[in-house]
């Protein structure tokens, strides 16, 4: 060792480790790791496990073996499942249309200058704030065959009917009752988000239209709707996803009854898998929801978010 070497000022040479961490790609990788880890553990793993289980004959208390598509073939021949697919689609479409019609109407009303505007807006949010199970139980009381306040009013107070309404006792009235409950619960989300959209529309556009003598329908059709389209597409996507995967309302109000006529795919998957013990079959039903969800998402996102739709240009 040469102890007399003169000391020169210089930056210490970087260690291999230091160089490694200075690498941009590596840094990005490590900064992303916590988030990716969370996603992997809490999102990808359960989803992957659900997928895997759908291809096995796992039951509660017994680990299963790979059976390929057997579960899917089995549910495709199950009338209960096919009915459920049909009803889940119907429920989603009708409830979403209802939510949007009423939500948009409400948003337009709230966008006007009303007295107590902020108070009203707060009240509108109430159904959304109440936990779903609580509102489901409230609806369950409203729909009770013996203790329904609606029946009580119609029969005992107003004398418009002779018998209590059997809201949940036959398939169609149960279905419409559930749709009504779902619409009630979904309106605030739609109304508040569309209201936010409405408020981004510049009033000068309406003023200009007024000066040109546009009717209120023309103003709605030509200004409000096109400018609302982007947010409408996002809200619609979310709303369809929430409705299609609904569980709590149906499970708390009808449990899928009467005679399986109101099972949604989510409730049927749960009933088959957990109380019924057939985890493989339940998972297959849950996995069968995925194509529908992807289709719904793609449709509302790509179709409705297209510029030419929004701006009313013709197809080219």
């Amino acid at each position: 060792m040469d102890a007399t070497a003169s000391w020169t000022y210089q930056r210490p040479t970087q260690t291999a480790l230091g160089r490694f961490f200075d690498n941009r790609a590596v840094l990005v990788f490590f900064c992303m790791l916590p988030a990716a880890g969370l996603l992997l553990i809490f999102l990808t793993y359960p989803l992957g496990l659900g997928f895997w289980l759908a291809f096995t004959d796992t039951q509660i208390g017994r680990s299963g073996e790979w059976v390929g598509l057997e579960n899917f073939q089995s549910i495709l021949h199950d009338r209960v499942f096919l009915n459920t697919v049909w009803w889940t689609t119907f429920y989603t479409v009708v409830a979403t249309v209802g939510k949007f019609a009423l939500g948009l109407w409400l948003a337009l009303l709230l966008n006007e200058n009303l007295p107590f505007k902020s108070l009203l807006r707060a009240i509108i949010l109430l159904p959304f704030i109440v936990p779903t199970v609580l509102s489901a139980i409230a609806f369950w009381f409203l729909y009770d065959p013996q203790f329904s306040i609606i029946s009580y009013l119609l029969v005992d107070v107003l004398h418009w009917r002779d018998t209590y309404i059997d809201f949940l006792g036959n398939p169609w009235s149960a279905r419409w009752s559930l749709i009504a409950a779902n619409i009630w619960r979904g309106i605030p989300f739609v109304a508040i988000t569309l209201l936010a959209g409405l408020q981004t529309i510049s009033p000068s556009l309406y003023e200009a239209a007024l000066l040109d003598g546009a009717s209120s329908w023309q103003r709605f059709r030509r200004i409000t709707v096109p400018l609302l389209m982007p947010i409408l597409a996002v809200v619609l996507t979310f709303s369809v996803l929430f409705t299609f995967t609904d569980f709590q309302l149906v499970y708390a109000i009808t449990r899928g009854g009467p005679i399986d006529s109101t099972h949604l795919m989510a409730t049927l998957a749960f009933q088959r898998a957990i109380p019924g013990g057939q985890i493989g079959e339940g998972s297959a039903i849950a996995v069968a929801m995925i194509p529908f969800l992807i289709f719904a998402t793609l449709f509302s996102y790509f179709a409705l978010a297209r510029r030419k739709w929004q701006q009313g240009e013709g197809n080219d």
Partner: protein, 444 residues
């Protein structure tokens, strides 16, 4: 009625005979006749602690007395025990997780057929069960069925009680309809329901997605007509003439029930009965218990009585019981302490308090407890006393297995009866559909 008396008398005689043998070894102080049998040697491990999981209470004392008994065990042995109460519907998934992961509670007081799904993961209870059986006059039919591994004499679980749902009815309204008691004959029972409906106090049985009540009603209809879901070997045998008879009967009965039963859940008949909307239903002791303990409704309780479900063609109570089945998992580090805990809870000093406090909500699995003071404290409770002696089980006549549980959980029989009752299907079609669905679960 004749049938019923003979059955009951035989059971009482049986209990009496057992009592006579038992009394020799035990001081007359105790009302519970016991035989002098040394408890099994199961020295608790040093530093043992236990965790117990059980279903939530249906009546308050179920929890308070259970906790008090557990505390007495801790005081007597120094072994801390934590008891967790979970909702009835969460119990099965939690049992499954415990069994599959080999972690969690040492003891699960689970649902009747769960031990049969996890039998290889459970510590044998044979020694303890045989000791208790000898000491307390033997086990009833259902605890033995559900406690032992199918077709063997090995106890895989320790049944702690059973809950049944016999007929609960308003005496004055049944009298008004011209009956002193609930007829065992199906035609007369139909006539009674018809008259109850005419008088404005109809009967009500759930045909909705109510795991307990609706399955109980469906099983009653099936078994009272001498029909069954599967044969002894576990082959689906529902598609038979007797089932068609049961479906036709259900269809005749249905218009005489209160409207809306297709959407009834497990709480609906309790509510309707308490509101005096219905005059007759099948239920556990909970309806009577609640009415009796509330001064506002004591009047209804006074006019309430219980009877077995009509026997129909079965010749015996066509019903099962919900057995509370204690499982001790092999992953427990303190199996001896756990067995000792179970023994302690089943001994008369503790068990009788629990039984009595719950007004027999969980009826005893051991015959000697038929002598408990609770059964004479209120003659109206007597019907619940021998609930564990019912001779039907979930998936009768087949083995107790997962498929039987799946059929119950998916309401296969309930829907069959509901579809025919409400006129949505012909009996022949409904039974074929039920056969198809049942075969999905009984395939393997």
């Amino acid at each position: 009625m004749i049938d019923r008396l003979t059955l009951r008398d035989t059971l009482i005689l049986g209990a009496g005979a057992l009592a006579a043998t038992g009394l020799a070894g035990k001081a007359a102080r105790a009302a519970i006749p016991t035989a002098d049998v040394p408890p099994p040697k199961q020295e608790p491990e040093k530093g043992a602690t236990l965790r117990v999981l059980r279903p939530s209470k249906f009546v308050d004392p179920d929890e308070t007395i259970f906790r008090a008994n557990t505390k007495a065990f801790t005081e007597a042995t120094g072994i801390p025990v934590r008891v967790d109460f979970v909702g009835w519907e969460d119990l099965r998934p939690q049992t499954a997780v415990t069994a599959n992961t080999g972690a969690g509670p040492d003891i699960v007081l689970g649902w009747p057929n769960d031990p049969h799904l996890y039998s290889d993961k459970l510590v044998s209870m044979t020694e303890l069960a045989e000791y208790l059986g000898k000491k307390y006059g033997g086990w009833y039919f259902l605890p033995e069925k559900y406690g032992k591994k199918w077709g063997t004499n090995d106890w895989i679980a320790l049944p702690m009680g059973g809950s049944t749902g016999p007929t609960v009815y308003r005496t004055s309204w049944v009298k008004e309809a011209g009956y002193d008691t609930i007829p065992a004959d199906l035609d007369k029972f139909l006539d009674l329901c018809r008259k109850l409906k005419k008088n404005g106090h109809p009967a009500g049985f759930s045909l909705g997605n109510a795991v307990g009540d609706a399955n109980g009603y469906a099983n009653w209809l099936l078994w009272a007509h001498n029909s069954y879901l599967v044969d002894e070997k576990g082959n689906v045998a529902i598609n038979r003439k007797e089932t068609i008879d049961a479906l036709k009967y259900a269809k005749e009965l249905y218009p005489n029930l209160i409207p809306g039963v297709l959407s009834w859940n497990d709480a609906s008949n309790n509510k309707a009965y308490a509101a005096e909307e219905i005059g007759l239903t099948f239920n556990g002791v909970s309806v009577y218990y609640v009415l009796k303990n509330d001064p506002k409704t004591a009047r209804i309780a006074a006019d309430t009585d219980h009877a077995p479900q009509p026997f129909g063609h079965a010749g015996k109570t066509p019903a099962s019981a919900l057995i509370l089945n204690a499982m001790l998992f092999k992953h427990s580090k303190y199996p001896n302490a756990a067995k000792e805990y179970l023994r302690f809870m089943m001994e008369q000093e503790q068990y009788d308090k629990w039984l009595t406090g719950c007004l027999g909500y969980w009826a005893q699995p051991l015959k000697a407890y038929a002598k408990s003071a609770v059964w004479t404290s209120d003659p109206k409770l007597a019907i619940y006393r021998d609930g564990c002696g019912n001779e039907f089980w979930e998936g009768y006549k087949g083995p107790i297995n997962a498929a039987a549980g799946s059929v119950t959980a998916n309401y296969v029989l309930v829907h069959m009866f509901a579809a025919v009752s409400s006129g949505q299907a012909e009996p022949e079609d409904a039974v074929r559909e039920a056969e198809r669905l049942a075969k999905r679960y009984y395939k393997s």
